[in-house]
C-alpha cells in the first residue's frame, strides 16, 4: 500500500515555468494589452499624457473610483446599477447640509444605507440585483433632484471645497489620494481579508460557499455596502472639488465604470476578476480619454472609439473566443485524411 499518491499538478519549478504559471493565473490580460497598446501609441503621438501625469492620474481616479466599488459587487456575480445615482444623491447631501463636518459623514452614511437597501432587496427579499439596483437607480436620481430642488447647490464653505481640489503633497490631490486609498483598501480586502476573499467563493460557486458555512447573505450586504459607500465617497469628492452639487452629476459614471471593470477582465457572472484589473481598465480608459481630449477629437468620435474598444474587449473574452472557435471549427471541412482508412 502506498503512503502517498501522485496525481499531477505538482508545483512548477524553474523561473520561466513558474512565471508562466503565475501569468496563467491572472485575469487582467486583455486590460494589460490594451493599456500597453494605448501607451505605446501615445508615447509617439501625445507625449503630453506622460508629462502631465498627475492630471492623467487624476482623470483615472475620476473614472476608476466608482468602478472599484462596483468590482466588489461584480466579483460576487451581482450588478449595481445604482452607483451613479448614489453619487449624485450623496453629492447633493453634502451640499445641502451647511456644516461639512456633518455633511460628509451624512453623505457617506447615505451610501452605506443605499448599499443596505440594495442588499436587502437582493439577499432578503430575493430580487435579482439587476432589477433591485435599477429601481434604486431611478429612486436615487429622483431623490437627488428632490433634495436639490432641481438646481445646482453650492456648498456653504467654498474655501474648504477649493482647498480640497489642491494637491496635498507633490501632485497628489485628495481625489488621487482617496482613489488610491480606496484601491488599496478594496484590494487588500478581497485578497487578504477572509470576508473579501470569500466574495470569489460567493461569485464562483455560491452553493459551495453556503455549504462551507460562508454567510453568503452577509457577504452580499458587505459587497453592496462597499459599492454604495464608494459611490457616496465619489459623490463627496465630486461635490467638494466642484464646490457645487448638481443633481445630474455622474451621468457618465455608470457606463464608464462598467467599461473599466469589463476591460480589466472582471467576469460579470462572478468569481473571476480582480481589483487590479479594474485599476488597469480604468487606467486604459482614463489615458485614452486624456489623449483623445488633447488631440481635440470630437466627443462623438471618442465615444465611437470607446464603444468599439468595449465591444472588442467583450467579444475577446476567453469564453467568447472558445465559443466562436468551436463554431468556426464546426463549419470547417473535417480534417481526417490522416486517420481515414
Amino acid at each position: 500500500m502506498t503512503e502517498t499518491i501522485q496525481l499531477g499538478g505538482a508545483k512548477e519549478t524553474g523561473f520561466f515555468p513558474r512565471l508562466r504559471t503565475i501569468i496563467g493565473r491572472r485575469t487582467e490580460g486583455r486590460g494589460v494589452i490594451l493599456l500597453l497598446v494605448i501607451l505605446a501609441v501615445l508615447a509617439f503621438t501625445q507625449p503630453l499624457v506622460f508629462t502631465a501625469l498627475p492630471v492623467t492620474i487624476g482623470r483615472i481616479a475620476l473614472i476608476g473610483i466608482v468602478a472599484l466599488g462596483l468590482t466588489a459587487v461584480i466579483l460576487m456575480g451581482e450588478l449595481d446599477l445604482s452607483v451613479a445615482s448614489t453619487l449624485a444623491a450623496s453629492g447633493v447631501v453634502v451640499a445641502i447640509i451647511p456644516d461639512l463636518r456633518i455633511a460628509i459623514p451624512a453623505a457617506l452614511l447615505m451610501g452605506i444605507v443605499v448599499g443596505i437597501i440594495n442588499a436587502f432587496f437582493i439577499a432578503i427579499v430575493g430580487i435579482a440585483s439587476f432589477i433591485a439596483s435599477l429601481g434604486m437607480l431611478f429612486a436615487l436620481s429622483g431623490l437627488a433632484f428632490v433634495l436639490s430642488n432641481e438646481v445646482p447647490v453650492s456648498i456653504a464653505n467654498q474655501d474648504a471645497g477649493l482647498a480640497f481640489g489642491q494637491p496635498l503633497f507633490g501632485p497628489v490631490t485628495p481625489r488621487i489620494l482617496l482613489f488610491f486609498l480606496v484601491f488599496i483598501a478594496i484590494q487588500l480586502f478581497v485578497t487578504k481579508v477572509k470576508a473579501g476573499r470569500e466574495f470569489f467563493a460567493v461569485g464562483g460557486n455560491r452553493q459551495a460557499a453556503y455549504d462551507s458555512g460562508i454567510p453568503v447573505k452577509r457577504r452580499i450586504f458587505t459587497g453592496f455596502i462597499i459599492s454604495g459607500f464608494v459611490s457616496a465617497l465619489a459623490g463627496v469628492i465630486y461635490t467638494l472639488e466642484l464646490t457645487v452639487a448638481t443633481p445630474t452629476a455622474g451621468s457618465t459614471v455608470l457606463l464608464a465604470s462598467f467599461a473599466a471593470a469589463i476591460i480589466g477582465g472582471n467576469y460579470l457572472k462572478g468569481g473571476r476578476g480582480s481589483i487590479i484589473g479594474t485599476l488597469i481598465g480604468a487606467s486604459s480608459l482614463g489615458v485614452l480619454q486624456v489623449a483623445l481630449f488633447l488631440s481635440g477629437v470630437q466627443v462623438p468620435v471618442q465615444n465611437t472609439l470607446i464603444g468599439a474598444i468595449l465591444l472588442i474587449a467583450v467579444i475577446t473574452d476567453p469564453s467568447s473566443l472558445r465559443a466562436i472557435s468551436a463554431r468556426v471549427r464546426a463549419t470547417l471541412p473535417d480534417r481526417t485524411k490522416v486517420e481515414a482508412q
Binding site: E12, R197, N205, S212, I214, S325, A326, D334
Partner: protein
Amino acid sequence: MAAVVEAKNITKAFGGVKAVDDVSVSVEAGEILAVVGENGAGKSTLMRILAGIETQDSGQVIVSGEVIPKSDAKASIDAGISLVHQELSLVPEMTVAENILLGSAPTTVGITRTRQMKQIAQAALEEIGVSVDLDERISKLSVALRQFVEIARAVARKPKVLILDEPTASLTPAETDYLLSMLQRLADRGMSIVYISHRIPEVFRLCDTVTILRDGKQISVLDVAKTTPQQVIDQMVGRELKKDLESKRSSSPGHVVLKAVGIRAEGVNDISLEVRAGEIIGLGGLVGAGRTELVRAIIGADPRKLGKVTLTVNGKTKVISSFESAVKAGVGYVPEERRTDGLALTMTVAENITLPNRKELSASGFQLARKIRTFADDLSKRVGLRPPEIDREAGQYSGGNQQKIVIAKWLGRRPALIVLDEPTRGVDVGAKAEIHRLVKELADNGTAVLVVSSDLPELLELADTIHVVRDGTITGTLSQEEADEKRVMSLAAGEQVENA
C-alpha cells in the same frame, strides 16, 4: 461506547414526498458506517441534513450530546461534522489552499493568515497523502485531484465525523484503492466516517456497519461482518436481483448507421466506432473515462479536434459537423444532465417533447397547435408518462418521468441513431424497467442505439456489444456473450479487480 454523532428520527419532505422518513443513524468514534441505497433512496438528503445544509422537518442531529441547530452549516462544521460532497463544491477560481480552508481560513482581525492557511492546507493534504501545488487554481486540476482536495478540506476541519458521498464515482481503481486505505488510516486514528456508496464491494472492504435506505425509509442496520453482499443488495432493491435473461433480445443488426473515425477531443484520444441499425452499443467504463466526452464529440455537442463522423440513413450518407447537423441527419441525444441539459423544467411536457420537432409541427413558421398537442399526447403515452398530462410543467414530474419526456422528444423524430448518456441515473426501479423496454423497442424497430452507462447491470442487459473506455481510448470490446461485470470492470480499470 457512546455515539459521536447521532441523527434521531430525521424526516424531510419535498412537496409532499418524504425524501427521508424517520431515519436514525449513529456513529461511534473510529467507526466506519456505510449508508447504502439506490439512487433516490434519500442518502444524500440525509447527509445534507447532518451537515446543516438542508433543514429537516423533524428530528435532531446530536454531536457529543449537544443538539445542533437546524440548517446552520457553520454550526455543523464547528460541531465537527464535515461533508465531502457528491457534486464537487469547490470554487474554480480560488486556489487549492483557499478551497481547503473555504469559510474557515485562519484570520487575525479578519485578515487571512496566508502562511498559516497554507500550512493547514498542506497538513491536510499530507494527512491524506496527496501532493499538489497549493497556489494552483482548482479550475486547472483534474477531476480526481479535485476530489482529493475536497476530502482534504473536510479533513482540515478536524472533524469528529467525516461524511463522504460517493467519493469514488470519478476515481480510477488505483485511486479508489488509495482512498479506501486512507480512510481506514483516518478511522484508526479515531475519526468516525460515514461512507455513502452503492458500490457494495467497497462497503464490504471498508465499513464496520451498514445502514440501508430505501425510498427514504430506513430498512435495516447491519453489522458488515455478519452479512453478505447479496443480503445488502436485496434489502437495497427490496426484491431479489437476478439477471433477467428472458429480456435478452435477439439482435440482427442492419447496415452501418453511425461511423466515427479517429475522434480526438478534450478527454478523447483517437477513438473510432460504428453503430449498426437495430444494434445497441454500450460504452462502459468509469466516470471520467471519456465516454460522455466521446459521445458528445461524435454528435457535435462539443467541439472535436479531429475525426470524421458520418451518418447513413436510407442509403444517404451525411457528414456530421455540428450538433444541428447531427439532429438534422437523424440523431437523438439524451444527455447525462437531464435537469440542466435535457429539459426546460418550467416549460410544459408538450413544449419539451416538441422542442426538436418544431419544423415538422409548423406551417411556414406558425405552430400547428392541434398537431402539437396530438403529437405530444401520443408520445407521452407511448413512453408511459404518468400521468400523461402534457400541459404540466416538466419540473413537476419525478426523475423517471422526466427521463421519459426526454426520450419522448427524440422518439418523435424517429431517429436513425439515438445516443443515451446514463439513461436511468436517479430513476426509480419501475421507470428504469420501462426505459429499458423503450430502448430495446427502439432497437428492434431498427434504430441504432449508443448507450453510456456506469450501471453495469444495465449495460449488460441492454448492450449487444460493449466498448469499454479508459483514459479516452477504447480498451476492450465485449460481445453480449462475453460480457460480465468482472470483465467490464477489469477493462475499465486497466487491471484485475478482485470481486468482493
